[in-house]
């Protein structure tokens, strides 16, 4: 099977249609001025000009899914007895994510460690993940807020993708990254691509230089733990935060969920749905006590999860792919990359200079 290929611009739509013949294709579709990952059909217009407003995480980790249905059945002989019948569906359709960006694809690797590479893999996530092929489009230029190179990614990074596509003048250069990806190259719209390889790789290198890197060259932001633990720091930078969930719901690496039962009479279903640490109910305890009662404590958790706790647990890997959506779509322009660079101590004027000592007291996560 071919490792590389080429698709002419005018054939791209047919290529997506070809893919949708035996799989559900999630592609960035244009709706008004909004680009959204949606299940593709012939009525929709695919837009590859810029990253979609939402990440493709919904294809593998839907906003809400039924884990199982349950029915209470009364014993006709003994009315006090009830039995429960449970039906779970762990069969998932074949799917293709088309037009994700390298950051989006990277996001799924963050999920895999949590949902698959454990003693108790999640059958729902794993079921969808195994049946999904990820076809990623390299970015030609960064979007406002992008900082993928600062967290170990890049506009042409192929980690997490099965196929990598590079837009060239006349068409798209296609590279298979995994065995799963090679199957995609069998579509009739894909012609031989060897002659375009050099042009594509040159373009990939060019785009790399355009992305900003707020954390410096080492790609490992060293978080000052004393600054991280100081309430004053967070109160100062996060007073403006509205504590809405736009950042978590648009994040390709946020994987927290809630489980609820919805029941009517004797029938019901158990639902898993997205949740986020920016919501007060996320940590609200049965007693009424909330350990994260304020906005800045919630945001500290968001930064902590991505840049401290997750790296501690998974070998220094940062749980942020730098897609910049939380920055672009934040109602009050909270910039996570800026907050993290302050936490590194690179801006010593924080908290009116009183934290001078704290700034030097940095902790390297790699040492953990």
């Amino acid at each position: 099977m071919a490792e590389t290929g080429f698709i002419q611009k005018e054939k791209l739509n047919d290529f997506i249609k070809e893919l949708s013949k035996d799989a559900v294709v999630y592609a960035p579709c244009l709706e008004g001025d909004t680009v959204l990952f949606k299940a593709f059909d012939a009525d929709k217009t695919v837009c590859l000009d810029r990253p979609a407003n939402n990440p493709p995480k919904l294809a593998i980790f839907p906003q809400s899914e039924t884990l199982f249905n349950f029915t209470y059945i009364k014993d006709t002989e003994d009315p006090k007895k009830m039995s429960v019948e449970i039906k779970a569906n762990t069969e998932f359709p074949k799917a293709v994510i088309f037009g994700s960006r390298p950051c989006d694809a990277n996001g799924f690797l963050i999920y895999d460690r949590v949902y698959i590479d454990t003693n108790t893999p999640d059958p729902y996530y794993m079921g969808r993940r195994e049946k999904t092929t990820i076809v990623t489009l390299c970015c030609n230029a960064p979007s406002p807020g992008c900082f993928c190179v600062a967290v170990g990614g890049g506009p042409a990074n192929n980690e997490g993708s099965d196929v990598l596509i590079t837009e060239l003048e006349k068409g798209y250069f296609v590279e298979a990254v995994t065995e799963k990806g090679k199957a995609v190259l069998n579509a009739p719209q894909v012609e031989s691509g060897a002659s375009y390889a050099d042009e594509a790789h040159k373009k990939q290198l060019e785009s790399e230089k355009l992305v900003k890197n707020p954390f410096g060259k080492d790609c490992q932001p060293e978080i000052s733990m004393s600054l991280f633990d100081s309430d004053e720091f967070w109160e100062k930078y996060l007073s403006k935060c509205l504590s809405c969930g736009a950042c978590t719901y648009l994040c390709p690496t946020c994987y927290c969920f809630n489980i609820t039962d919805e029941q009517m009479l004797n029938n019901g279903e158990r639902i898993r749905s997205w949740d986020g640490c920016m919501f007060p109910h996320f940590t609200l305890e049965g007693s009424g006590h909330n350990p994260r009662p304020t906005k800045f404590k919630r945001f500290r958790n968001r930064v902590g999860h991505k840049f401290v706790y997750y790296p501690e647990k998974y070998n220094g890997v940062i749980a942020c792919c730098g897609c910049g959506r939380c920055i672009r779509y934040c109602p009050v322009s909270v910039d996570i990359s800026e907050v993290v660079s302050y936490l590194r101590g690179s801006q010593p004027d924080v908290s009116s200079g009183t934290k001078e000592n704290a700034v030097t007291d940095t902790v390297k996560q790699e040492q953990k």
């Binding site: 407003n53 906003q63 807020g145 100062k236 007073s239 109910h281 109602p331």
Partner: protein, 318 residues
């Protein structure tokens, strides 16, 4: 420069308050961001230009116990009046720095016009034009073309209430009818089309609650019935009926209270025209109860009161 005058005005009041809420430069040249200042050294960071879109008065109810100075444009000042009507702030704790405003910029409209390219620089000229520089070149827009729709029909360019006014008052020649022309137009569409429109718009909703949290009048915040299990109004299913219901909760809880600052619509990451529903209700409030939110401090919101004989309500026959 207005920025300088503004900084002077802030310096003049800053020693009397605990915190000053103003604007500073955001993550790029196209974005301003709210800033909370507690020391005089920070005043130099304050900016004022048409990118200062946020309604900063939204933060006031959560800071009720503190002494706060806040920047308010004409539209934002209506929020303060509504807060006063509903007893949500202590007026004596708030110092209002009013700024007459001839219109702000819709960042979305600019981004659409420049194909969502990263912005390198932004500049403004005296005529109210904005020039945006990207790697593809420069583009100049007149404010009229890139302002949010609310600015095109603004009747309150000068704050209705303020303690300090920075700049000269601006008059508006717009009328009440101008402001609701689009609502009346929508009402004339066939009913099936209206339902289809809202279903299409609400279907995009991801229930991030940005519209709710940015809304100055949504004061329940952490106790919102959209999230509680008891009462259990809506489930966590991502279905159209649940999304629709959430927006109905938002709209109906704002009946006769919405000051039309448009924050709900501005912050929506899915570009849902959320404010339209509330403006429709406001139009009815005016017709039925001759009430407009946030215009005079003495008014009483129409849902808080009644007349024994409602002259405008006719009994409905089946």
């Amino acid at each position: 420069m207005i920025s300088q005058k503004l900084q002077d005005a802030i310096a003049g009041v800053s020693d009397k308050v605990d915190v000053v809420i103003a604007y500073q430069q955001g993550f790029d040249k196209l974005h301003a961001t709210p800033c909370f200042m507690t020391t005089p050294e920070e005043i130099k960071n304050v900016i004022w230009n048409p990118l200062c879109v946020h309604n900063l008065t939204s933060y006031l109810p959560s800071l009720k116990k503190k002494k706060v100075a806040v920047l308010a444009k004409g539209c934002d000042s209506r929020t303060i009046l509504q807060f006063i009507q509903e007893g949500l702030i202590n007026r004596e704790n708030v110092t209002i720095i009013g700024i007459p405003c001839s219109g702000v910029i819709s960042v979305n409209k600019i981004l659409q016009a420049i194909n969502h390219e990263p912005v390198e620089d932004v500049s403004f000229d005296e005529k109210g034009n904005i020039t945006v520089k990207t790697s593809k070149g420069e583009k100049t827009f007149s404010l009229q073309d890139v302002c949010p729709d609310k600015c095109k029909t603004c009747r309150f360019p000068t704050p209705i209430v303020y303690d300090v006014l920075v700049g000269d008052p601006i008059e508006s020649n717009k009328t009440y009818d101008d402001a609701y022309a689009d609502i009346k137009e929508f009402e004339n569409k066939p009913i099936e089309e209206r339902l289809k429109y809202w279903e299409g718009e609400f279907d995009r909703c991801i229930r991030c609650y940005a519209c709710r949290n940015a809304c100055p009048m949504c004061v329940c915040q952490d106790s919102c019935i959209a999230e509680t299990r008891d009462p259990h109004w809506i489930s966590q299913r991502a279905t159209l009926s649940e999304k629709f219901m959430f927006h109905m909760i938002h709209a109906l809880h704002l009946a006769g209270r919405c000051v039309e600052c448009g924050e709900c619509e501005r912050v929506c990451p899915m570009n849902i025209p959320v404010n339209k529903l509330k403006r429709k209700i406001n139009l009815d409030m005016k017709e039925l109860y001759n009430y407009e939110p946030g215009v005079t401090p003495e008014d009483k919101p129409p849902m808080y009161t009644f007349n024994v004989d409602e002259v405008t309500i006719k009994e409905h026959k089946i």
